[in-house]
């Protein structure tokens, strides 16, 4: 720390930035209109400094960590000299605004002090629909970005405090659910106004000279802390390869290959060897890949490293242009979330070799994103939600059942809210017995969620994950169970591919039955404490048959209790046979 820096004031300002970013998140959530923002919380808020570098981020979606930076560079460059107080910018295009995918709309407001820009209040939220060929705008089958919805470079949505009405009208006309989209845009603006107020207040209190010096210092401090953490990871090259099943029927696997190199207090992630960009909406532009890398690295750091830009300085991310992790125009990116999740999972796969005690075995992967759309009494409806699953086992405990992916701390949508607002009925939501990936510490159980359409007809789309390549175990733990998706219609039952690329038409009474994949196990299942096996049997998470098959534990149904002798015998013969 520099000599002229008061460590106390630094801490005071850091907490001040955090408070402003959190307040923005709270206001956005409470005033939002779509289930995916207000309930699933698929949004982020941040305060950025004058140069567009993140100072603090609200505690919502880790996967957006660091993803404001590139968009802000784009905006600042484009509007240099043309920004005035009261402006609000909107943008979403991955290629013309350094955005992520079209449904993620950025709303950004400059913050002035004494007629000079001193920072930016920024938000990004996943909108329920931005037009394009399918309701919800997550078309896996899109082959170019023009099919995915309305493309917005950074534009002024509000100019000097006045709505730019033509732009509001243009956006409203191009989306299927204009009330929802404009309601969420207003919520984002409200959050930015709160952020502007809180940040400007800090400038008024401490003066610009002090603020600018301490903002620099905050970045340096985060960098220093990140370097201290990276130094504790053993030097070396850690490689990992993972896959997404691929698009549509008979999918061709999409390869993710990373080489993580730790050298002293720096770290790099090189994605050379990953698949070329694909004709389907799962490509991601580079900023999102970087965000995934940052999220995974931040997760293995023990310290509470500030989520500011300085933290990213010792980290390098390389990915060849034109690959699925660094797509170029006109590659479609609508459902790129799954790629972001895989980037994080792949990073954990590599980091497990370096810091095995700090990561879990693989979890259920990307959230399932079912989309139902159509017309009810003549009015269009679009329902989509993110279904989150389960984690793998760790070196010290079982993987939890029913948790969000590390990349996105999102909630489920209450069943009663869904049924009150959409022509859908949820027939089942719960854990699946015997599904956990076995291990000394087992993975979390798989989640099931079944949907019945109540409207006369409708459209259905699905993004899911991990069937051909189920969640991997670690240290001798077994893989989790693959995911399963069935459509039951009058014509019979049909297994759906993991990434559905063609529009599926539904009729009233059709049922979509979905089971996510379960978490992988950690360590040899034969070493699992029989008491834990018995606990799972008592809790009806494991059958007596599976206790024997997966763990070699013989459970006497009377009691129930563990038959110690029979278990010793069974486990001994399993070890000799090398099975399980």
């Amino acid at each position: 720390m520099r000599n002229d820096i008061d460590p106390i004031l630094l801490e005071v300002l850091k907490s001040g930035f955090d408070t402003v970013a959190d307040e923005m998140a709270l206001i956005l959530m409470r005033t939002a209109h779509s289930p995916i923002v207000r309930d699933s919380m698929d949004f982020s808020t941040a305060i950025c400094d004058e140069a567009g570098q993140t100072l603090a981020q609200g505690v919502t979606t880790p996967m957006h960590l660091g993803s404001f930076y590139d968009a802000m560079q784009f905006l600042i460059e484009r509007y240099r000299g043309d920004v005035q107080p009261g402006d609000v910018f909107v943008g979403n295009d991955p290629y013309a605004a350094a955005g992520q995918h079209l449904p993620d709309i950025y709303i950004v407001k400059p913050i002035f002090h004494d007629a000079r820009i001193v920072g930016w209040a920024t938000t990004v939220a996943h909108h329920a629909d931005v037009g394009g060929i399918v309701p919800g705008s997550n078309a896996l089958g899109a082959v170019e970005i023009y099919q995915e919805g309305i493309r917005l470079p950074f534009l002024k949505l509000v100019e000097a405090g006045r709505d730019v009405k033509p732009l509001w009208e243009l956006i409203a006309l191009n989306v299927r659910v204009p009330d929802m989209v404009t309601g969420d845009l207003r919520a984002q603006i409200a959050a930015c106004v709160a952020g502007e107020r809180g940040y400007a207040d800090l400038f008024r209190r401490h003066g610009p000279a002090v603020m600018l010096r301490y903002i620099d210092e905050l970045h340096d401090y985060a960098e220093q802390l990140a370097r201290a953490e990276i130094s504790e990871i053993p030097d070396g090259e850690y490689r990992f390869t993972d896959h997404i099943d691929g698009l549509g029927e008979d999918p061709e696997p999409v390869i993710f290959q990373v080489c993580v190199t730790v050298a002293g207090d720096t770290i790099s992630a090189d994605w050379t060897g990953s698949s070329p960009q694909v004709k389907g909406g799962i490509n991601t532009p580079l900023p999102f890949t970087k965000a995934g890398v940052y999220t995974a690295l931040r997760s293995v750091m023990a310290s509470d490293v500030p989520n500011c830009h300085g933290f990213t300085r010792p980290i390098t991310v390389r990915a060849p242009a034109g690959t699925v992790v660094n797509s170029v125009h006109p590659a479609p990116t609508g459902a790129r979330g799954i790629t972001g999740y895989r980037v994080i999972d792949c990073m954990f796969g590599a980091l497990a070799q370096a810091v095995p005690d700090r990561v879990a075995a693989d979890g259920s992967g990307g959230s399932t994103l079912p989309t139902f759309g159509g017309y009810q009494s003549g009015k269009p409806f679009v329902f989509c939600e993110t279904v989150m699953g389960t984690w793998g086992g760790t070196a010290s405990h079982d993987g939890p059942d029913g948790v969000p992916h590390m990349g996105a701390n999102q909630s489920n949508v209450p069943i009663e809210m869904i049924e009150a607002n959409y022509p859908l009925r949820i027939q089942r939501y719960g854990l699946v017995q015997d599904s956990a990936g076995p291990g000394k510490y087992r993975g979390g159980l798989a989640l099931a969620r079944d949907y019945e359409l109540l409207a006369d007809d409708g459209y259905f789309g699905l993004r899911s994950d991990k069937r051909a390549f189920p969640p991997h175990g670690l240290a001798g733990g077994h893989d989790g169970r693959p995911c399963d998706s069935r459509l039951e219609t009058a014509a019979g039952t049909r297994m759906l591919p993991v990434l559905v690329t063609e529009a599926i038409t539904l009729r009233k009474g059709d049922v979509f039955r979905h089971v996510m994949s379960s978490g992988g196990g950690y360590g040899d299942p034969l070493e699992r404490d029989p008491a834990l096996v018995l606990r799972d049997v008592v809790q009806e998470k494991l059958s007596i048959a599976a206790a024997f098959h997966d763990y070699g534990v013989v459970v006497d149904p009377a009691g129930p209790s563990v038959d110690e002798v029979a278990t010793t015998v069974a486990r001994g013969s399993s070890r000799r046979a090398g099975t399980r």
Partner: protein, 695 residues
Amino acid sequence: MTAPLRIAADIGGTFTDIAAILADGSLITRKLPSTPHDYAEAVVEGILALLAGYGLAKAELGEVLHGCTVATNAILENKGARTVLITTAGFRDVLELRRIRVPRLYEPLYVKPPPLVPRQLRLEVVERMGPRGEIVTPLDETSLSVAIERLKREKIDAVAVCFLHSYANPEHERHVGEALRRALPDTFVTLSIEILPEMREYERTSTTVINAFVGPPVRAYLRSLIRRLGDAGLSERLLMMQSSGGILDARIAMDKPAQIVECGPAAGVIGATHAGALAGYRDLITFDMGGTTAKASLVEDGKLVRTDEYEVGGGISLSSRLVKGGGYALRLPVIDISEVGAGGGSIVWLDKAGSLKVGPHSAGAVPGPVCYGAGGTEPTITDANVVLGYLNPLALAGGSVPIDGAKSHAAIEEKVARPLGLSVVEAAFGIHQVATTVMMRAVKAVSTYRGRDPRDFALFAFGGNGGVHAAELARGLHMQRIILPAGAGVFSALGLLFADVELGLSRAFLRPIAGTAPDAMEAAFEALEREVARQLDAPVERVQFRRQVDLRYSLQAFELTVPVPPGRLDAAAVAALAGALDAEHERTYGHRLDAARTGEIVSLRVTGALPTGGCKSLSASATVASAGPPRRRHAYFGRRFGMVETPVLARAAIGPAPLAGPVIIEEYEGTAVVPPDGTVRRDGFDNLVVALSES
């Protein structure tokens, strides 16, 4: 003829506080160690001691007002009843899956809290309601019989029942409730429609389960207490504090024990509301700082703010409304209190990049701060306050806790000052400031996060450490006035004496504002009022009702609660709700939409209050110990003022005219620090009123 005496008993972690206000307005108190094997013991013993100590007859006692931690502890220690949950078939895991979100980011080793009812005790019954109350699948009696047979085999103390959409049609839940109460007459049964007839299945299920889980232990405790009171020849009229801030007859509270979780902090805020209002302060931010945490709450125009987004045992978080999932959701009205992990015992440390941090780890009561000399080695906030001269360097709590200031000095020098290249007092002042910054988040969470400007409020500080940090906290928030009440160390007990008998009920009432028939809404409100009166066991005419309504814009998921004016609802009153939503939304979030077009009613709320003989005045001097000879010690107030010789006075030595700082006021229950740029005076209600100059 004097009114019967009312005595308050509040059980805290370590102490049981007893308080009463005599007819002349004077406050009398007793503090004695809690008796965890049976908390009722210390309560009765304390009441007898208080009566004896002031020469009062047992017969003078009219009623006992009580706050306890029995319900909270049952949850935190997982020692509630063995409970079964009955759900709609296909949904028994709703309780365990929760809302999925976890309270900590970037934490691959996170472990979820276990559900209060394990999976094997969550039974399913075949039935299904639709969102408009339509029966989709009739109740299957066979599956109900199977569940009841299973219940008879298990050793069960309590059953919770929560079916999907029961708020829209309670028929199936009622039927199951009747069957259960018939088949298992000794079992504590809670139906979700009896406790929270509102939408959102996880929150309703969790609230219902909490009620069942704490029901048997709370009932046993209250029965034991009533019996002990009777055995001791005392009045058996017992009133319980609820988390919402009202008191309620213990026999009613036994059926809804979920309402008394977290009643201790609630009583403190009630006390602040009333003590503040008595002295003419109606806009307050309360600040309650103890040994491990600091809590803040907002009082606006004499009214406290309630929330129903609460988690029991959620742990301490900096922004509790964003980071959820660490505790057990309880969706009943609770006074909106935010909490951060910064108390006197919070540990001070440096991170890997040399930045100064405070908490959330605490040295607790044992070993406690380094200065206690009980084996603590890590410096705490209290150690910093000793080094700064704010706290007595020889003993705390009127001499009952001896301390060693040299140990604080050495620990801060070694662990903080030297690594940071600061002098010891500068390091200590830095700790004081960082702690203040952490506590500011608690205050902001109840003010700026809700669109309220702290400058419009006075800071009302209590708890053992409240007065030590109030000045810096107020300064950081540009607040200019601080109120430091008498009895700060028994403030929750004091709060009980001010509370009204109150019961709140709500029901779902989902429809657009436009087109809502006033008669339908009036009828729904009246039905709620009749139910409130029934549960209060009082005629409708005697109950003072307050109506509120939860509103939101169509498509939003979060509601704003606005009052409904008294009197029969007409079309104009219903239409006025749109304007009320627009105004409240703008005030809270900074913008408005058009509620006349898209405003929705979500729930109706009714609170019924019964006038009590509650204390309406508190006179000066009764609580003030006589002033001792003045003392002085050096205290450090930052670089601006440096080390200043500061008089140390008793509360009684402060008069009605403003006295210029610096000054330290030392009492048995706590210490207050007035900085050099502040003044302090004592008002007619024994409050110390500190004014800070604008800087």
